[in-house]
């Protein structure tokens, strides 16, 4: 980590701690959850080259299970989170066993179909509340001491959980394990020929990504006290994908920037569902046609170019 990155990190932490005094905390929590969901997806697309079109199933099922645990047993928030992350990881492992058997475009279609299966389960299972969703989840105490009943303290709990998620992603990407993942993305046959168990690496990455999406879902259900069918629907998967490519694939900050843009846009258009669809569609088309690097990717690219030019001229 360079000194500039460290300074940026410190500024970022200070801003994140102060911003709820300016902006409505619940809106910020939504932003954080979507940023983590998109980052978990970015871990798969950007660093393993697997385009999952079904991440809503992990986000949504974690949200339902964590909500159910908190509502039925009234336990500490951490158990809700653990249950949510656990179910998402389990679901990720089981569906991953089958989905990683196919590559590329088939992988996307299979994950989408799996997510649809989970959607129908969420509609039918007895504890999910069907069309109404799981409502009235209580705000739990967290780790025995932190009460989350007011939005501000809930924000700090959510911030800690999401920051933990981002830390895990950061550590994964810059570990030897992350190097292997990138080599699989760039040239799978070569990674295989070097003796790496490609499918095992993919399965671990898929499970990890699912667990992180589950962390986002569990955080969301605690803050909003509601798990709904929208959380498991394909539109949520599409939104996560949109956030990823707007921010920039293969960047750590991309999902954060993407989430700020997309979630704010949806927030202001909340009463016009069809306009959200139209703008999402247009943004998809523009990003894919004109700047495939995404915002953060483009900035990094320009930055690097400038640095190279400076190096060349001196």
């Amino acid at each position: 980590m360079s000194s500039m990155q460290r300074n940026l990190l410190i500024v970022g932490i200070v801003v994140l701690c102060l911003v709820p005094y300016v902006v409505y905390p619940l809106f910020l929590i939504k932003l954080l959850c979507f940023a983590l969901l998109a980052a978990s997806l970015n871990l798969l697309i950007g660093y393993v080259g697997l385009l999952s079109f079904g991440h809503a199933m992990f986000y949504g099922s974690a949200s339902y299970v964590a909500g159910h645990v908190l509502k039925t047993w009234n336990v500490d928030g951490i158990f809700g989170v653990l249950a949510g992350v656990g179910i998402a990881a389990l679901l990720g492992f089981l569906s991953g066993l089958l989905t990683i058997r196919r590559q590329g475009i088939y992988f996307s279609m299979i994950t989408l179909a799996f997510a649809q299966l989970v959607f129908f389960l969420a509609l039918r299972l007895p504890f999910t509340g069907g069309e109404d969703g799981l409502q009235g989840v209580p705000r739990p105490t967290f780790l025995g001491v932190i009460s989350t009943t007011d939005n501000l303290s809930m924000y700090y709990v959510a911030l800690a959980l999401v920051a933990f998620g981002f830390w895990v992603i950061y550590r994964t990407v810059y570990s030897p394990f992350g190097q292997v993942l990138r080599s699989i993305r760039d040239n799978e046959p070569r990674a295989l020929s070097l003796g790496y168990q490609v499918n095992r690496y993919k399965l671990i990455a898929f499970t990890l990504s699912a667990a992180l999406a589950g962390l986002a879902g569990s955080t969301k259900v605690m803050a909003f006290q509601l798990a709904s069918l929208a959380d498991v629907s394909w539109t949520t998967s599409g939104e996560a994908l949109l956030i990823c490519i707007v921010g920039g694939l293969q960047t750590l900050l991309g999902p954060v920037v993407g989430a700020i843009i997309i979630v704010s846009m949806e927030h202001y258009l909340a009463s016009f569902a069809e306009w959200v669809l139209i703008i999402q569609g247009v943004v998809f088309i523009i990003v894919v046609m004109l700047f495939r690097k995404g915002i953060v990717g483009q900035i990094q690219f320009l930055w690097r170019e400038r640095a190279e030019r400076r190096l060349g001229s001196s």
């Binding site: 697309i45 385009l51 089958l98 989905t99 058997r101 196919r102 590329g104 475009i105 088939y106 996307s108 279609m109 299979i110 989408l112 179909a113 799996f114 649809q116 299966l117 129908f120 389960l121 039918r124 394909w234 599409g238 994908l241 490519i245 569902a273 069809e274 306009w275 959200v276 669809l277 139209i278 703008i279 999402q280 569609g281 247009v282 943004v283 998809f284 088309i285 894919v288 046609m289 495939r292």
Partner: protein, 293 residues
């Protein structure tokens, strides 16, 4: 003949017909996806939106121009095909040289845009479209509307016609050759980019055609396409994208399986196709008719 496998035969035949109708749409849609994927290597997420568009064009032709269903059956697919050709020329053509993922994302964006625009204009409640073929076949124990039989018959004919066109004609052989090795085909003096454009248009037209046929059965609604496309993706995964005949058989077969599940285990009917997909992936990862790529 009062009952088959312990259920009243009227219900049995009824569900069989419903299954075949759904299967007809699965077959037409997965056939189009197969053709597009085979040649362009693009997963056309907009296929559902193009199907919806077909239904809406048919509805608009009747509402604003007074053109009947039979005119719509020819005109609407043509209009939707032109939309497809434009989409290929303006967008998809520039994405062949980058990762396939971007084409998928682009078609997804187009699907969202089309659905959003239609919802803005027409709402989500759905518009009725009059049945063009009144009456039906009376079998004493049950009654089958003519229109349903017509849909099954025409879908089957169109599917087999497409299969014949691609597998047995000269033009079809060019398509298959371009699928194997586009550069070689190009060196023989065939205009491959134009062929790709027309193929995309043709397959999109098939989706539009399915949309027109669906209009009198289901309500014409902006949501009809996105509900269908995910199931069709599962159908494609089960069948494997390699073969045209494979998608036809899988489409009809899964429609019937889904219809019969509704009869014997109603709770499972909405998930049965996904369960079949999971079993297929576990036992034959490349699909029933797929080639190992």
């Amino acid at each position: 003949m009062d009952s088959i496998f312990g259920v009243p035969s009227a219900a049995f035949v009824g569900q069989l017909i419903v299954g075949l109708i759904n299967g007809a749409f699965y077959a037409l849609m997965s056939l189009g996806l197969s053709i597009i994927f085979g040649l362009l290597r693009v997963v056309n997420f907009a296929h559902g939106a193009q199907y919806t568009l077909g239904a809406f064009v048919a509805w608009a032709l009747l509402e604003y121009l007074g053109l009947s269903y039979w005119w719509a059956l020819i005109l609407a697919p043509a209009i939707v095909a032109v939309f497809g050709v434009l989409m290929e020329r303006v967008f998809l053509r520039h994405l062949y040289h980058v990762d396939h993922v971007y084409a998928l994302l682009l078609t997804f964006g187009v699907a969202l845009l089309v659905e959003g625009l239609l919802r803005l204009q027409f709402g989500v409640s759905g518009l009725p479209y009059a049945n063009p073929l009144a009456g039906g076949l009376d079998l004493n124990f049950t009654f089958i509307p003519w229109y349903r039989l017509w849909v099954i018959g025409v879908a089957l004919a169109v599917c087999l016609g497409s299969w014949y066109f691609i597998e047995r004609t000269k033009l079809g052989s060019y398509l298959r050759a371009a699928n194997e090795n586009p550069n070689l085909v190009r060196s023989f003096g065939i205009n491959v980019p134009r062929m790709l454009m027309l193929t995309y248009g043709l397959a999109v037209g098939l989706a539009g055609f399915a949309g027109v046929m669906a209009a009198p059965i289901y309500q014409v609604s902006p949501l009809m396409g996105s509900n269908l496309i995910i199931v069709v993706f599962a159908v494609v995964v089960i069948g494997g994208m390699g073969s045209i005949m494979g998608s036809i058989i899988t489409g009809f077969g899964l429609g019937v399986i889904e219809g019969l599940t509704k009869l014997f285990y109603p709770e499972g009917s909405s998930v049965v196709i996904f369960v079949v997909m999971i079993l297929t992936l576990a036992l034959r990862p490349h699909g029933l008719f797929g080639r190992n790529e």
